[in-house]
Structure formats: structure tokens, C-alpha cells
Amino acid sequence: MSSIVDLKQLKVNFQIRQGFIKEVIKREKKIVKAVDNIDLSIKKGEILSLVGESGSGKTTTGRAILQLVEKTDGEILFDGKEINNKSNGYMKNFRKRAQMIFQDPYQSLNPKFMVIDIVAEPLQLMKIKVSEEEKIDKVVKALEFAGLRPGKDYLYRYPHELSGGQRQRVSIATCFIVSPDFIVADEPVSMLDASVRADIIKLFVEMKQKKNISFLFITHDLSLSWLISDRIAIMYLGKIVELGKADLIAGACRHPYSQALTSVLAVVGDRRKRKRIVLEGEIPSPINTPSGCRFHTRCPLVKEKCKIEEPKLREIEEEHYVACHYPEIIK
């Protein structure tokens, strides 16, 4: 298998807590279909971006793959096999091979732990036997790979002594130290200053190139994802609406939502007079999703069929998938 992760008809639902009366007596259930029937394969050694706005389901998808939230239905295959989260042995191995980088550098490190403990923790938890010296050596190497040099200067510091960018590098070192095969990066740079972001995302590219690590890069920043991804998947309200190579999505996407999104991208020093497609209204509530094509309530090209029948994600040209009844119209 050349995919590291396969998602087949993945569904993740959440139940919203309502008052006692509504839930128990009236038995009214409010369900959020955060991820609603998506198919996706992440190839080995590729960086695939999951791009979308709030409520798109991109974050939930990442968490579901890493078994941090329970899937409601469908299959998640890791390296060809279904993830067996009941087996301790399997999970120990899985956690070694699949890691996550979190969004908030200020909250994703335990403030009471020193850097050396944070970075060495996976080694301890995965019962990788190393002597004290080897442990320090590995930690230092991981820190230096992540750009914190000299590594030994950072070992005994606490997170609050580091800047946001440095903390994020510590996060990366924590992932790197166990040599994973797959990393989910959830908005890893959105809380960092612009001038610091480049270095962090360059590390991802380096990890992919040198160690063949695959990435699922979750972000709302289409420009950033275009920079480092091989492929981009655009999500809307729990569904994938378009999937294709990065350059293609950025420049020649075919789904009306993708087109609107790429058209409003603000670029520094943009001289072109481009046509901005600013959609009206906001993303509908994921509790009451629109019938047919979810996007039909805001689509500038909506037709009757769109309101009734949900379009499937289909291949319209090589390696380019769109979930739209009329992608041909759009140029």
C-alpha cells in the first residue's frame, strides 16, 4: 500500500448537551455531524493539507485519525490496516508512528515540565529503553533538528521561559524524537507571528524530504498550505468539496466554494484587479445542514438539482476530485 492513512466513509458525530428535560424526557437529540462521510487517502511521504473554515470538520478529522475522538462510522486505515484501538500493544505502536502537533504553543506544553522531560516523555511512555546519556543525546538531537541550538541550553528550561515559536519547536522535537511515519499538524503556526512561521513550516518540508514523514496539515490559511503541500483538500461543513494538487487548487479550482475562497485571499502587494467572489451570509449550522448540496444556500451558481441531490466527490480529471453537479460550468 502506498497510502499511510485511508479514510473510508468516515463519520464523526457529536451530541450536544441540552437541558435535562429535553434530553431525558423529550428525547430530543441534537447531533452535530462534524465529519460526514468523507473518503481520503494520504500517500506515504506526502504533505496533504486540509483547508476549511470553522465548522468544516478539518480539526475533527485529524483528531479522529489519531484516535483522540471516537469515530461514529466508517473506516480509518493506518498503513493498510484498520486501527485497533482496543489493543494496548497495537496502540503503543500506533502512537509511536502517528503523532500530532497542536495549535496553541502556549497551552500545549505542561508548564510544570522542563523541556527535557517534555521531549523525552514519548520515549518513556513508549517504553523505548535508553540509558540516561542516550536519552539526553536523543533529546538534544531532536531539539537541534527543530532549530533550537545549542540543544543542551534548552534542556532545563520551562515553557514560560520560551517564546511561542520556540515552544512550537519543542512540540516538533517531541514528535521527531520517536521518528514517526505520520504527523497531523493542527494549525501549527496560526498563533505565531508571520516572521516566525516560515522556519516552522520549512521544518515540515525537511521532515518530509529527509525522513519521508507524511503530513496532514490542517489550516484555514490557504496560502500557507499551498506553499508546502503536495495536495490540498477543501472541506465545507463536514464534507470534502475538492481535492487536487496544490497548484491546481490554488490556481484552477473548479468547485464554487473553492473558487470563492481563493478569490478573496488577501495577498500583500497584490496589484492584480481580480474578481472577488464574496459569499453572502455565513456557514450554516452543522446541526441543521442544508439538504442536497450543503453549499447550495450560498452558491452563486445554484440550480434546482443542487437543492435536492447531494453531489458525490468524483474525479473530473486526473488526480482532481470535485463534489459538485456542475463543475464544468466554472472556468
Binding site: S195, A198, W226, V264, A266, V268
Partner: protein, 326 residues
């Protein structure tokens, strides 16, 4: 007003007293703003842009104070004004939209009541008149007037932001300060708010100061930009001058940190090092140790002043351009 400048800030110095000493958050900032003009204050965390705005509207924390400088609003010196002197000015003449202000709405009051309250605190008009004005304002910001009596939690993030903009416009101020008005909003909502701000710029005569770290939206909604670094202005001028004809090395690096999806795929660059500690700032140019165009000792010893470099009031604080100024 004889002078067409609604705001003139001269050599503003705002410091904060902390246990370890004094933090020079804003250290000598000067700029002016014309009536109806929109200025973007751009910079990264810690550069002093928010502190500058808070100094203008006098909402600094208890340990903050204006050490030096002058702020003239409509030719009136408001620098040393006391709280009671500022009260009638605040909101009526200068209003502010805070960062994350979508969460600044009182959750137990209806949106309409909150805006009416804001109006009536400053003007002596009846409830009915106030509500009429609110309705008109909501139309101006494209909010469904039928929703006027909702509670904040019934509004989405974008709608709340529009409600905040409405509140800021309520008393028809001469100057609105927007602190990161589009951060934390979805891309499409961001685009809508950008369109709204541009629409308001055309329709109203209000001047704006937009504070943001996002250089890409500045181009869309501002006439002029001031790039701030470590409490000072590094470069200031029209959007055309600063973005397409940048002079300061920091401006150059900042621009290059944003990916341009319309060009060839070129990896963005980071700036090495860290912003300086404003507790005990070193001598000389504060960007010197990170600067890729440092020319020598002068950068480390002498703090550069803002000098004119052509264009329309295009100024830069960099030793590179000394001698080449006009």
C-alpha cells in the same frame, strides 16, 4: 478645522512600570491622520501598536503612562487629559473596536439595548430616536434589522463583529480605532468585513486607524501604513510606497513572510533572532542584530530617525537611506 489633520501624534512615549523596571512599549512615535483617511499600524507582537492606540484613547493599564509626547485630536491636546475630561470624547469622538470584541458584548443584554446604551451615555436623545439610529446603522453594516433584539449568543462571530462596528459608529465619531478587526474570523467573513469597512470608508467621513499583524489585509483597507518595530515606527507612507517601494529591511522581511499565491511558489522567509527586550533596550537601531542589511557600527550605536525618502510623505528610520533622503 483649519488643519485637515484630525489626529497628530508627536514623539509619543508610553512606558509601563513593572517590578523589574520600565518597559518602553512605545518610544517616540509620530504620525498624523487626515480626515477620512485610513492608517494601518502594522507590526508583530510586542511592537507597540496596540499600546499606541490605547494611549490615544487613554485606556492604558494602571501601570502605563505617557512619559512624553503630544497627541492632538481635532487640534485639541488630549495628552494630559484626565479621565473625566476624556469621558465625553471617548466614543463620541474616538471609538475603538477591541481585539476579539465579539466576546465583549454583554451576554445578558439584548444587542439593541447595548448599542442604545452606548448612544445615550453620550447624547441626550430619547429611546425611540436612539433605536431608530440603531436600525439605520444596522442597515449600514448589513445586519438583518429583524435581529436587532437578539442576544449576543444568538449571533454568529461575524454578526457580532458587525454589531461591534455598529456600536463604534453609534455616536458618529471622527476617528475609529480597530484593533485586529478581522483576526479570529473565518476567511469569508473576513472578506465580508473588509468589504464593509471599505464601504464605510466611502460613505462616511470617519478616519480610521487599523491595527493588525496581517499585512495582507492592510493593502485592502488602508490608505497609509506605519510599520512598527520595538516601539518605534520603522517605515511610514502610502500603501503604494511602503509595500511596492519598501525601504526598511524589516518591512522587506515582513512582506516576504507572507506567501503570495499569485506568484511562483517561493518559500517564505523567517527573520532570525527575537524581538528585543523593551525593558532595557540596547543602544542604536533595535533591529540591528536581526538586520540583513546592516551597514556597520552606526547601526549598533545610533538610533536612526525618521527621514523623508520621496514618494508621498514616505519616511523611513534606517541608516541605509541617510544621505539619500530629500
Amino acid at each position: 478645522m483649519k488643519n485637515e489633520n484630525i489626529l497628530e501624534v508627536s514623539n509619543l512615549k508610553t512606558y509601563f512600570k513593572i517590578k523589574e523596571g520600565i518597559v518602553k512599549a512605545v518610544d517616540g512615535v509620530s504620525f498624523s491622520l487626515k480626515k477620512g483617511e485610513s492608517l494601518g499600524l502594522v507590526g508583530e507582537s510586542g511592537c507597540g501598536k496596540t499600546t499606541t492606540a490605547l494611549s490615544i484613547i487613554k485606556l492604558l493599564a494602571d501601570n502605563g503612562y505617557i512619559e512624553d509626547g503630544k497627541i492632538l485630536f481635532k487640534e485639541k491636546d488630549i495628552t494630559k487629559m484626565t479621565e473625566s475630561e476624556m469621558l465625553p470624547i471617548r466614543w463620541k469622538d474616538i471609538s475603538i473596536i477591541f481585539q476579539g470584541s465579539m466576546n465583549a458584548l454583554n451576554p445578558v443584554m439584548r444587542v439593541s439595548d447595548q448599542i442604545v446604551e452606548a448612544i445615550q451615555l453620550h447624547e441626550n436623545i430619547s429611546d425611540k430616536e436612539a433605536r431608530e439610529r440603531v436600525t439605520k446603522l444596522l442597515e449600514l453594516v448589513n445586519l438583518d434589522t429583524g435581529l436587532i433584539d437578539s442576544y449576543p449568543h444568538e449571533f454568529s462571530g461575524g454578526m457580532r463583529q458587525r454589531a461591534m462596528i455598529t456600536m463604534a459608529l453609534a455616536c458618529n465619531p471622527g476617528l475609529i480605532i480597530g484593533d485586529e478587526p478581522t483576526t479570529a474570523l473565518d476567511l469569508m467573513v473576513q472578506a465580508q468585513i473588509i468589504d464593509l469597512i471599505n464601504d464605510l470608508r466611502k460613505k462616511l467621513d470617519t478616519s480610521m486607524i487599523i491595527i493588525t499583524h496581517d499585512l495582507s489585509i492592510i493593502t485592502e483597507i488602508c490608505d497609509r501604513i506605519a510599520v512598527m518595530y520595538a516601539g518605534k515606527i520603522a517605515e511610514i507612507g502610502t500603501v503604494q510606497d511602503v509595500i511596492f517601494n519598501y525601504k526598511h529591511p524589516y518591512t522587506e522581511k515582513l512582506i516576504k513572510a507572507f506567501p503570495n499565491i499569485y506568484r511562483e511558489r517561493e518559500m517564505v522567509e523567517s527573520i532570525p533572532g527575537f524581538p528585543p527586550n523593551l525593558l532595557d533596550p540596547q543602544k542604536g537601531c533595535l533591529f540591528a542584530d536581526r538586520c540583513h542589511k546592516k551597514i556597520g557600527e552606526i547601526c549598533e550605536k545610533v538610533d536612526p530617525n525618521l527621514i523623508k525618502v520621496g514618494g508621498k510623505n514616505h519616511m523611513v528610520a534606517c541608516h541605509l537611506w541617510e544621505g539619500k533622503d530629500e
